[in-house]
Symmetry: C2
Subunit: 213 residues, 2 copies
DNA sequence: AGTGGTTTGTTACCTATGCAACAAAGAGGG
DNA sequence: CCCTCTTTGTTGCATAGGTAACAAACCACT
């Protein structure tokens, strides 16, 4: 945020159009069928220039994801204090923000996660989500002291991985759905599912529906 | 057609995006309100680069028109032989092509000719149409030998100018119309009007409606 | 296995574009 | 009127990108 943003206009332009072309092409013909030549032609960028910036199409698609994900995180940073009401009906704001981000970048995610997309991208996105969850886990604990005894046999990584699959599944369903639900609505539904599944699996004491409100 | 098309990709790209930005901006804020800086920013082109290619925004808009108009003419060239049936119900194919061209470039023409557009562009377009008409006049004569005595007092330029106004008016009405008429339909209606007005003013013998068919 | 056609990376040289800074000319507006 | 702010053109220098050509890998046949 500090010393950024003085990148040569040509570079920003090149990145912009290569990324845009990539997303279009994935939508049209699927990730695997795309050649570097296709991307370059669509973007009106010389193929040699492509290789000055990206190793191959995998690198390109990875960087697309990383950049948009980073922009998500940057956009999330100002919000740290939603410790107020965290219950079944009120998903933490971070999740609402995630879905808002997805809505903004819906072309990208529909292209990448859909059946024409890149399983490789999907896997990479899951890794990122797992990281995001672990880094922010303390935000979601209903109350700090309420953790119960954990099932010692349960691998630590499993519930997080399960949760990431739920998230991706929710996104894919949302983006392919006819009706246009709001990010907050989707976040709430995601939260309904995650609340019991994830939190109770991790040994948190979960209030039953209707119990404390 | 022969030795064309080996222009540096960067130049083609620069032209493309500057022209695209120009059309967008005219649609959004009107021709007069646009600054060179606006165009450059929208197109992701440095302002200095703008001046390497165009004198000012007037030059840019002129070149946009000339290039699309040239593409129209180039696209028309293969068709020389529509001498068959030229009557009230069958406009010469050249006019159908003109309206097809307008349909393809409808963003440009709606932006330029509409009330946010450029009167200057409109005038320039009229000049071009006049040239086009004069160069192709012999195609429209119903029969070569049927020209009557011409009103000697009538300035040669007037009927052509009148016709160009009719054409522009027809285009503007078409592009702003809710319903989507086909180019051929519009060409026919244009022809209905032009047939008697223009041809008879120029001293051609015009068959009366229903007379010879 | 061989063969023609595509795609991939990579290179050396040239050119279009970016950048920053400038003077000068509008354009308000107090 | 003067003053500030924007916009216009223009310039010298630095650099990203274009071009063409190349070898290598890949692929689909047959």
């Amino acid at each position: 945020m500090s010393h950024e943003e003085q990148i040569d206009l040509r570079i920003r332009r090149t990145h912009h159009f290569l990324q845009e072309a990539m997303i279009e092409l994935i939508t049209e013909k699927g990730f695997e069928a795309i050649t570097v030549g296709d991307i370059a032609e669509r973007a009106m960028i010389n193929r040699a220039t492509f290789y000055r910036h990206y190793q191959d199409k995998y690198d390109l698609v990875a960087r697309i994801f990383e950049e948009t994900a980073d922009s998500l995180v940057a956009h999330m940073l100002p919000f740290h204090k939603d410790t107020d009401q965290i219950d079944l009906e009120h998903p933490p704001e971070i999740w609402v923000q995630v879905f808002e981000h997805v809505a903004e970048q819906r072309h990208l995610y529909r292209a990448m996660l859909g059946k024409n997309g890149s399983p490789w991208f999907t896997a990479r996105m899951r890794e990122y989500i797992v990281k995001l969850i672990l880094e922010n886990e303390q935000r979601w604990k209903p109350s700090a002291g309420s953790r119960q005894q954990i099932d010692q046999a349960l691998p630590e990584a499993l519930p997080v991985m399960q949760l990431s699959h739920v998230l991706i599944g929710t996104i894919v369903w949302w983006l392919e759905s006819e009706k246009r639900y709001t990010p907050r609505q989707i976040a709430t539904w995601f939260w309904h599912f995650a609340f019991y599944g994830y939190l109770s699996a991790r040994g948190y004491e979960v209030p039953l529906p209707g119990k404390d409100r």
